[in-house]
Amino acid sequence: MRLLRLSQLGFVALLVLFSTGAEDATMRYNALGHKMMCVCGCSQILIECNHVGCQDSRQMLTELWTDVSRGDSDTTILKAFQANYGAIALAAPMFTRFNQAAWLAPPLVLLLGMGLIVALVRKWRLRTVDMPAVSETAGFLQIRDQIRKETEL
C-alpha cells in the first residue's frame, strides 16, 4: 500500500516535472521567437511571420525549438542565430559594443532634459527674487482677474 502510494507520488512528481519543463520550454520558445526576425524579407517578428509556406521562418523556428529543447541559454541561442543569419535576425540589437548606444541614448536624453529643466527653473527663480514687488502684484492681480473671468458664474 505504502509502495503504491510512493509510486503514485513519484508518478505525479515526474508528471509535474515534465509538464513544468514543457511549459517552460514553450514559454521560452515563444519569448525568444518574439526577439528574432524572419529573414525572408517580410520584416516580421519570427514567430509572427504569416507567409504561407515561408521556408525561412519554418527553418528558423525548427532550429529555435531544437536549441530550446537542448536547454541552451537565451544568450547562447541569440548569439548562434546572429552568427548564422547575421545581426538582422535579432529583433533588437544585443547590449554589446556600439549597440549599447541604441539602448542608452533615449534614457540619457530624458535625464539630461530633466536636469536642464531643473537647472533652468532654479536659475530663473533666483532672478525672480530680485524683481520689484509691484510688478509681481500687478501680475498676480491680472492672473486673479483672468481666473475670475474664466470661472465666472
Binding site: 526576425m37 520584416s43 517578428i45 541604441a102 533615449p106 534614457p107 527653473v121 458664474l153
Partner: protein, 687 residues
C-alpha cells in the same frame, strides 16, 4: 486626358512660381518701404490670386488622374501599374494615392486645398496671411517640381498599350484604405499651415501672439487628422495584415508618429505662450521641427535609406527631399538668427511645481519619445556606417525603451490638471492628489487579486502600471469635472450632468482637452491588454474543433470561390462559448488575378473584453485541410473607442465657448457695421 493632366501640372508649377516670386517681392517692398511700377499691395493680391489659380490647376490634374483610372486608360503608366478593369470603383479612386506619383499628387492637391482656404480667408490678417501664402507656395513649388520632373503621374506607356492593368496591391483593397491615406496626408500636409504662419510671423516680426490664435484651430484640426490617420492605419494593419497586431514599429509607421509627437508637444506648450508669453523660441522650433519631420519621414521611406514593408519603391526622389529639407532648415535657421531678439520671453518659470513646468516636462517626454522613435528608425543605418553591420531595431527595442516613456507621460497627464499656473503649494497638491492616488492603489490591488502579477514578466509589469496610472488619470480628470460642475450645480440648481455640460461649454478648450486626455487613457487601457494576447494554430477538418480561452471554434466547411478580381479560399467556422453558438466566422485568403498576389481577410469577433481574431493561414499541402490561426487579443476594442473619444474631445475644444459664441452672435447681428471683425470673439477660452 494625360496631356490635360500634364498641362495642368505645368500650369500649376508656373502659378506657384509666380505666387512665390511676386509674393516675396511684394512683401520685401512692404517691409523696406520701396515701390516698383506696381504697388506692393496689388502685387501681393496678384500673388494671392495665382495661389487660388494653382488650386484649380492641381485639382484639374488630380481629376485627370482619377478620370484615367475610371476610364481604364492604361496608356498612362501609373494607371497601368495601379489599376485594372475588374477593380471596384472606390479602389479605382484610391489608386490616386496607391503609388509614389499619385501620392505626391495627393500631397500637392491637399496643400493646394489648405492654401486655397487660407487665401480665401486672408482678411483675418492680410499681411500675415500674405507671408504664410508665399511660404506655402514655396512648399507647393517643390512638390510641383517633383510632379513635373521627378515623378510625373501622367507618363505614357512605351510601345503597345496592354488591354488590362496590373491591378492594385491587394493589401490596399480594403475599405479603410480609401480613407486612411487621405486622412494621414491631411495631417502631414496640414502642418505646413502653422509652419508657414510661424515662419511668416517671425520674418515680419509680428507683434504679439495673434498668429498663435489664428493657427490654433489649424493646428488642432491637422493634429486630429493625423491622429485619425495613424489609428486608421493601425486598424487597417490589424484587419488586413493578419499577424494579430496593430502596430509593428515599421519605419513608415514611425514616420507618421514623429510629427504627431512634436505636434502634440506644440499644442501643449503653445498655451504657455498664450497665457504667460513664455517659450516663444521653443514653440517656433517645435512647429519648424514638426514640419521638417513630415518631410524627413517622407524622405526616409521613399529614398530607401531605411527598409520598410510598405515603403514605396526606392528611387532617386530621395535626393530631391534631401535638398528640400536642407533648404527648409537653412531658411528656418537664417530667419531665427536674424529675428531671435523678437522671441524674448515675457515671464519666467517661478516654480517646479506649476502648470508651466508640467507642460515643460510633458514637452520633454514627448520630444524624448520622438527622439527614441527617430533614433530607433535610424540606428540600423548608423550601425552599418559605424560597425559595418546592419542591425534590426524592432518591437522589443521600442517596448523596452519607448513604453516606459509613454507611461511617464501618462503619469504627467494626471498631475498637469491639478497644478496651478505660476506656482502650486505641496498642500494643495496633496489635497487634490489624495483621491486619484487612492484610486490608483485600489486598482493595483484589484489587479493583483484578479491575477495580474507584475513580477511575472515585463509585459505584465507594464500593463499593471498602465492600468493603475489610467485609474489615476481618470480620477484626476473626473474630479476636475466634478469640482467645476459642483460649483455650477450649487449656483444654478441644475443636475450634475447638465452642470458638466454647462461647464464644458463655458471653457471648451480646457474641458475638451480633458476629454482628449480621457481618450488617450482609454487607448492606453486597450494597448496594455496586448501583454495577455494568446494565439493557437491548428489544422481543421470538417466538424473538427479547436479551443482558445473561453471560445470553441468548429469547422463547418471550407471551400473556394472566384470572381473577376480574385479567387478566394475560406473556411466557415461556428464559434461557441459556454456551449452556446454565438457567431459564425469566415476567415479568407484571396489570390488577386491581375497582380498575382495573395491577401488575408481576417474574421474578427470583437467584444469589449477581447477580440477573437481568426486567420485562414492556408491549406496543409499533404492533407488539403485548412490551417486556422486564432488570436485572443484582450481589450483591443478600447483602442478604437479611445480614438472616438479623442475625436469628440477635439471637436469640443474646437467649438467656441458659450459666452464667446454669444458675444460673436451679438457682434454679427448688426450687419450694417462691417468694420467689426467677425473673428473678434472666436479666440476666447483658454486652459
Amino acid at each position: 486626358m494625360s496631356a490635360f493632366g500634364s498641362f495642368a501640372l505645368l500650369f500649376a508649377l508656373a502659378l506657384s512660381l509666380y505666387n512665390l516670386g511676386a509674393g516675396a517681392i511684394a512683401l520685401r517692398q512692404l517691409a523696406t518701404g520701396t515701390q516698383g511700377s506696381i504697388s506692393p499691395e496689388r502685387l501681393a493680391e496678384t500673388a494671392r490670386r495665382a495661389g487660388i489659380g494653382g488650386f484649380i490647376a492641381v485639382s484639374a490634374a488630380a481629376f485627370a488622374l482619377v478620370w484615367a483610372a475610371f476610364t481604364n486608360d492604361f496608356s498612362v503608366s501609373y494607371i497601368l501599374h495601379h489599376s485594372n478593369r475588374a477593380l471596384p470603383g472606390p479602389y479605382k479612386f484610391a489608386a490616386l494615392w496607391s503609388g509614389q506619383e499619385g501620392s505626391l499628387l495627393l500631397w500637392a492637391w491637399l496643400l493646394a486645398v489648405y492654401g486655397f482656404v487660407l487665401r480665401v480667408r486672408h482678411k483675418v490678417d492680410v499681411q500675415l496671411t500674405a507671408y504664410a501664402s508665399t511660404i506655402l507656395s514655396g512648399i507647393q513649388f517643390f512638390f510641383l517640381l517633383l510632379l513635373n520632373f521627378a515623378a510625373p503621374p501622367f507618363s505614357l506607356v512605351a510601345g503597345e498599350v496592354p488591354q488590362d492593368g496590373f491591378g492594385l496591391n491587394p493589401l490596399l483593397q480594403y475599405p479603410e484604405m480609401v480613407i486612411h491615406p487621405p486622412m494621414l496626408y491631411l495631417g502631414y500636409v496640414g502642418f505646413s499651415v502653422p509652419f508657414a504662419f510661424a515662419l511668416g510671423a517671425l520674418m515680419m516680426r509680428y507683434p504679439g501672439d495673434k498668429w498663435i490664435h489664428i493657427t490654433r484651430r489649424w493646428t488642432m484640426v491637422t493634429w486630429l487628422f493625423l491622429t485619425c490617420g495613424i489609428f486608421l492605419g493601425a486598424h487597417w494593419a490589424y484587419a488586413v495584415l493578419g499577424w494579430g497586431g496593430y502596430w509593428g514599429w515599421d519605419p513608415v509607421e514611425n514616420a507618421s508618429l514623429m510629427p504627431w509627437l512634436t505636434g502634440t508637444a506644440f499644442l501643449h506648450s503653445v498655451m504657455m505662450q498664450e497665457k504667460r508669453g513664455m517659450m516663444k523660441t521653443w514653440n517656433v522650433w517645435l512647429i519648424f521641427s514638426t514640419f521638417m519631420l513630415t518631410i524627413l519621414g517622407t524622405l526616409l521611406t521613399r529614398s530607401g535609406i531605411v527598409s520598410s514593408v510598405h515603403a514605396f519603391a526606392q528611387s532617386a526622389i530621395g535626393t530631391w527631399f534631401w535638398i528640400f529639407l536642407v533648404i527648409v532648415l537653412a531658411v528656418c535657421l537664417f530667419t531665427f538668427i536674424l529675428q531671435r531678439d523678437h522671441l524674448k520671453t515675457e515671464h519666467r518659470l517661478e516654480s517646479l511645481i506649476s502648470r508651466e513646468s508640467s507642460f515643460l516636462f510633458n514637452n520633454l517626454v514627448l520630444l524624448t519619445a520622438c527622439f527614441t522613435v527617430l533614433w530607433g528608425t535610424l540606428f540600423p543605418v548608423l550601425s552599418e556606417y559605424v560597425q559595418g553591420e546592419k542591425v534590426t531595431v524592432s518591437a522589443p527595442f521600442y517596448n523596452r525603451v519607448a513604453v516606459p516613456i509613454g507611461l511617464f507621460l501618462l503619469f504627467l497627464t494626471s498631475i498637469g490638471p491639478l497644478l496651478a499656473w505660476r506656482s502650486s503649494s505641496f498642500k494643495s497638491i496633496r489635497k487634490n492628489f489624495v483621491l486619484p492616488a487612492a484610486a490608483a492603489c485600489i486598482t493595483a490591488l484589484v489587479l493583483i487579486a484578479c491575477g495580474v502579477h507584475p513580477w511575472e514578466n515585463q509585459g505584465s509589469f507594464y500593463s499593471f502600471v498602465a492600468w493603475s496610472l489610467a485609474a489615476l488619470v481618470i480620477t484626476a480628470v473626473g474630479s476636475e469635472f466634478l469640482r467645476g460642475a459642483g460649483v455650477i450645480h450649487r449656483h444654478t440648481g441644475q443636475n450634475l450632468v447638465a452642470s458638466m455640460v454647462q461647464l464644458t461649454r463655458r471653457n471648451t478648450r480646457r474641458y475638451g482637452g480633458y476629454i482628449v486626455h480621457f481618450g488617450v487613457v482609454v487607448i492606453f487601457i486597450g494597448l496594455a491588454g496586448s501583454a495577455f494576447n494568446q494565439s493557437k494554430e491548428q489544422e481543421l477538418n470538417f466538424r473538427q474543433s479547436m479551443t482558445l480561452g473561453p471560445y470553441r471554434l468548429q469547422c463547418l466547411s471550407y471551400t473556394q470561390e472566384s470572381n473577376l478580381n480574385y479567387d478566394s479560399e475560406y473556411a466557415l467556422l461556428d464559434v461557441y462559448r459556454d456551449g452556446r453558438k454565438i457567431t459564425q466566422l469566415a476567415p479568407e485568403k484571396r489570390f488577386y488575378i491581375a497582380s498575382q498576389q495573395t491577401s488575408t481577410i481576417v474574421a474578427n469577433h470583437s467584444t469589449l473584453a477581447w477580440d477573437l481574431y481568426v486567420v485562414y493561414a492556408g491549406k496543409d499541402p499533404d492533407s488539403g485541410h485548412p490551417i486556422i490561426k486564432v488570436f485572443l487579443n484582450p481589450l483591443v476594442a478600447w483602442i478604437w473607442i479611445g480614438v472616438g473619444i479623442i475625436v469628440f474631445g477635439t471637436g469640443v475644444a474646437l467649438t467656441p465657448n458659450l459666452k464667446a459664441a454669444f458675444v460673436a452672435n451679438r457682434v454679427r447681428m448688426p450687419i450694417a457695421s462691417p468694420e467689426v471683425p467677425a473673428n473678434v470673439a472666436l479666440s476666447g477660452g483658454g486652459d
